[in-house]
């Protein structure tokens, strides 16, 4: 499904920046400037031959100063539902794709007095523009970058020359581990922590912060787990009186978009809460995969986050 506000772009460069990791440069088909973005922003990319039935979010990893092209850095996921596989194996130089305007759910806190950045593997992507921005703003920061082995994750060399002593690399093949408690302990008042990487890194950082009494307001994270596949199911929309089938590798949100209704959405990762739709009837089990709804809201079964969550059962009716 192509959206009205989509931007048509052409792939103008593809480069392998680490094993199974490619950087794609995207420039507007009509050569116009692209909308400005700040570090931490992402775009969604319409993927697949099938009229963009899949839409995946990808963090912008290029320079915020670059108005001519966007860059995304994509790891070929082993359990890809088609997004990263399509980008890695099908997309060629010169190909046209549709993207959304940038959305930022992981911005730097402008009032912060010091910034501690924590990346695991491909989770480095938002910190590429963020570190550039922090240098421009003369802000105090440090970047801690965990990876499997030398060269296993992108941009280490570039970051070394850009950041010098502000970069700390941890290699798990050398049994180097980030000690989160000692990293966070004693950080001066006004410090903000930003984490992007695997779930266990994010959870570890949140728990270390809690154990040290850090306020939740100063801990920011971006989870990039893709929406899980599941059994196909059917959904009925009460207001628009439509019955829509959701495929195994398709999200509920994508199925709604494909059916021509325009449901709300923003992050496509179950984090922002924008795509919440009220549930009128659920004769079966709502499979909540988001990070937004509270335990109480989940068990009430009153709403569903369409970008990641699914349904298993006889009948699902949404108030939409």
């Amino acid at each position: 499904m192509i959206h009205a506000h989509d931007i048509r772009v052409r792939v103008t460069a593809i480069e392998e920046v680490a094993p199974r990791t490619k950087r794609f440069r995207l420039q507007a088909v009509d050569s116009s400037h692209l909308p400005q973005f700040a570090g931490g922003a992402h775009i969604t990319v319409a993927l697949g031959d099938d009229d963009g039935a899949l839409r995946n979010p990808y963090t912008l990893s290029g320079s915020p100063q670059d108005r001519v092209g966007y860059e995304i850095t994509v790891l070929r996921a082993a359990d890809s539902r088609g997004g990263s596989a399509f980008l890695h194996e099908q997309v060629v130089l010169g190909q046209e794709v549709s993207i959304s305007a940038p959305i930022n759910l992981f911005p730097i806190n402008a009032l912060g007095r010091r910034h501690v950045l924590l990346a695991g593997g491909i989770g480095i992507t938002p910190f590429m523009p963020i570190t550039e921005q922090l240098i421009d703003l003369s802000q105090k920061f440090e970047l801690h970058y965990a990876m499997r082995s030398d060269g296993a994750a992108p941009y280490e060399t570039l970051l070394r020359s850009r950041l010098g002593h502000r970069l700390h690399v941890y290699r798990s093949d050398l049994r180097e581990r980030i000690n989160l408690e000692s990293l966070l302990e004693g950080q001066p008042l006004g410090t903000h922590l930003y984490v992007c990487g695997p779930e266990r890194l994010i959870d570890g950082a949140i728990n270390a912060g809690k154990a040290l009494g850090w306020p939740g307001e100063n801990i920011h994270f971006e989870r990039f787990a893709g929406p899980p596949p599941g059994d196909p199911f059917e959904v009925r929309l009460a207001k628009s009186s439509k019955a829509i089938a959701v495929g195994q590798h398709q999200t509920l949100l994508e199925a709604l978009e494909r059916a021509g209704v325009e449901p709300p959405s923003l992050c496509r990762g179950g984090a922002c809460g924008q795509c919440e739709i009220p549930v009128i009837k659920a004769d079966g089990e709502l499979l909540h995969y988001d990070h937004f709804l509270s335990e109480e809201a989940r068990s009430s079964g009153r709403s569903i986050m369409t970008c990641v969550s699914r349904f298993k059962g006889r009948e699902l009716v949404l108030d939409f």
Partner: protein
Amino acid sequence: MPTIPPSLYKSRPVYPGLSWIAGARRHLITADGEGALAVLELLNSADQETRNRAILLYTPGGSKQLGHGAKLAPLLPGACHEFPSIETLLFRLNVELTRANMSTRLYATGTEGFMGQVIALAQGHGVNPLSVKTEHRGSLARRVQCVHCKGFMDGVTTSIVACSHCGISLFVRDHYSRRLGAFQGVIVNAEVAEEIPAAEELYP
């Protein structure tokens, strides 16, 4: 005890009440006037280890005759500091915040004007206002800034007040500035300056 009525304004802070923050290595507690009673309840609910991590900055304000400070001092030996005014307390708080790290957490209780000034000062040190534990106690009196001359007035209890700096009659709005820790006072009748409605005692 007067309680703050709900406001239509989103910018109006709410004060959910004091409770200990788990994990904090240092509890920096500030209070004025009747806020002492909230601190007393808080300290009585704590174990010795938690109390050992607490430091209190207190100014009695209008509650001086009640001697609350004397009740607090034995609970925090060596860590209970009393100040003659909000201004002197804030001077010390500024020093404490300069030395603080992320495991130091801030608490403020008492009048709204006092809490507002504590939060505004902490904001300058990079503290998010939402991460400060707060509880309103005592008078509803407001700290007001005249939007015309920018002068501040403490302890305003009426709907209309003459600015103590420039003399303009001000309507005390529900519009609150977190940066300044004060309500906005705007000329009450800009068309006919001599016609001033009667002031009501809204914030006793």
